[in-house]
Amino acid sequence: MSLAAFQRAFADLAGSPALCLAVRRNPAALEGYALTERERRRLAEAAGQRGMDAQCSMYRVTRIAALNSIVPLSLAALKPHLRELVDAYWARNPVHELRFVIETQRFLDFLAAEPGLLSAAAGDAAAALLDLARLELAMEEVRLGTPQPGAAPLARLLALSHEVDALLAAAPGGLVALALLPRSPNRALIAAEAGMGPKLYRLPDSGKATAAA
């Protein structure tokens, strides 16, 4: 399993500028990996190459791009604080999930489980931000799963703490606009029929659903 350990260590270096710096200072930082002497020497040398800086940058671009493909409005709102948030998330989840929807769900679960971290970044907009991200994720899940002709419609039901139209209208205004939204518990239905993209409906407490803006 030495090659597997080498590849894991190489991937960890790409994902962690801090580990690269530690290895540059002292190759013993690789001691946690079951490496041969040749592999240890190689990785210590690689950590010092200028290409490793580019590799670390590419890692960040790739992992952020995965999240951005699913929840772009939420990430745009978080932009001033995104670096701290993704650093904390990646430290907890160094292995990337290739299924972007699941990767995004994991990121949102992480934010929800770290209210202090999210509040430090998003302030009073934290709850609205999470609602917006859940809404975007559900829209993408339904879009990806748009049924084939003849298949049953696909739908997702979301319980949110902010009104759907208000969330979408406030999103371009970033955290400042999201923080001003009043709490208004409500539900949203996202549904897709064969050959059609997802549609978003507001569900009042009673009565007929209406299409959201």
Binding site: F6, A11, G51, M52, D53, A54, M58, V95, E97, R143
Partner: protein, 299 residues
């Protein structure tokens, strides 16, 4: 003596485009391109090997597969999920899906990158976060050859190995990249997808002559070429798929084409976010220029 043809039964395709939805209108224009190159992983949802066995692991993304149905063009499959150089076991379900996709669309060959993504066998389709390059060692060669033979047997199609752009070099590798690629083809029976922009990246970043690299490569193994452009990233030149190929990449194609007797396809790849700058006219110019370089058709 006649050179080996790694895709002897495959048709000569011409000049094609890496398909994405942004260029749908262009792809559907009759005569605009000769074939589509497709990254199948973007056309399906992979629910993972840990998916509930009562449901399918792979499902079409209808908006994407509809493009292929409408285009009615020959297709080559360019995969990103096999993780050719990975030290962990091959994902058997993924290989079965490669075979199914190949049968469904009649792809004359398949391709994958000389890189590894999968690093954690116990965590589903988990990955390093980006495609990473491995040293050009005998151990890695044997691993890649074994995986390629398995895939070719399972799919019934030639597997082309694509050279990768590498930010980091391992100068004490058992062999250099050209020798590695030559030996891959010899040992596996597969061929090469030569990404000329990746070659250009490596030449710029690591200071070698890309044309001399071509001299060391057995060019009879080259079946497909990729053209692309890039961008600066942290002091290195990165394969960003950011528009029309730069002149040095065209120079490499002009050098390669007359010496690659089995070259059947030239694929232009660009990221859809660059379409506003490139435009359909820009794509058409790249296609026309590639068509003019060498007739990628049966001699």
């Amino acid at each position: 003596m006649l050179s080996r043809d790694p895709a002897a039964l495959a048709p000569w395709l011409g000049v094609g485009l890496m398909a994405n939805l942004a260029c749908r209108e262009f792809v559907l224009t009759p005569g605009a391109i000769d074939y589509v190159a497709v990254t199948p992983d973007m056309f399906w949802q992979d629910h993972g090997a840990d998916q509930d066995p009562s449901g399918p692991r792979f499902e079409d993304i209808a908006a994407w597969t509809d493009l292929l149905v409408e285009a009615r063009l020959p297709q080559v499959a360019h995969h990103i999920g096999l993780s050719m150089a990975s030290a962990i076991p091959t994902d058997a379900g993924y290989v079965a899906q490669m075979a199914a996709w190949r049968r469904r669309w009649g792809c004359p060959w398949l391709s994958e990158h000389l890189a590894f993504v999968a690093i954690a066998p116990d965590a589903g389709p988990a990955a390093a976060g980006l495609a990473l390059t491995a040293p050009f060692d005998q151990e890695v060669l044997e691993l890649v050859v074994g995986r390629a033979r398995h895939v070719m047997a399972a799919t019934g199609a030639p597997l082309l190995l694509e050279n990768s752009a590498a930010f980091v070099r391992f100068d004490d590798s058992d062999m250099d990249e050209a020798e590695f690629l030559n030996r891959y083809c010899e040992a596996s029976g597969g061929g090469l997808l030569l990404d000329l922009h990746n070659l250009y990246c490596n030449a710029v970043n690591h200071g070698f002559d890309a044309h001399a690299f071509l001299d060391r490569l057995d060019l009879a193994n080259v079946v497909e070429v990729h053209l692309a452009n890039g961008a600066e990233l942290a002091g290195m030149w990165a394969d960003a798929h950011s528009g029309a190929p730069p002149e040095p990449v065209w120079d490499l194609l002009a050098d390669l084409a007359p010496r690659a007797p089995n070259l059947r396809a030239i694929t232009f790849e660009f990221h859809d976010s660059y379409l506003p700058q490139l435009g359909f006219d820009g794509i058409a110019e790249v296609v026309a220029r590639a068509r003019a370089v060498k007739a990628v058709r049966r001699p």
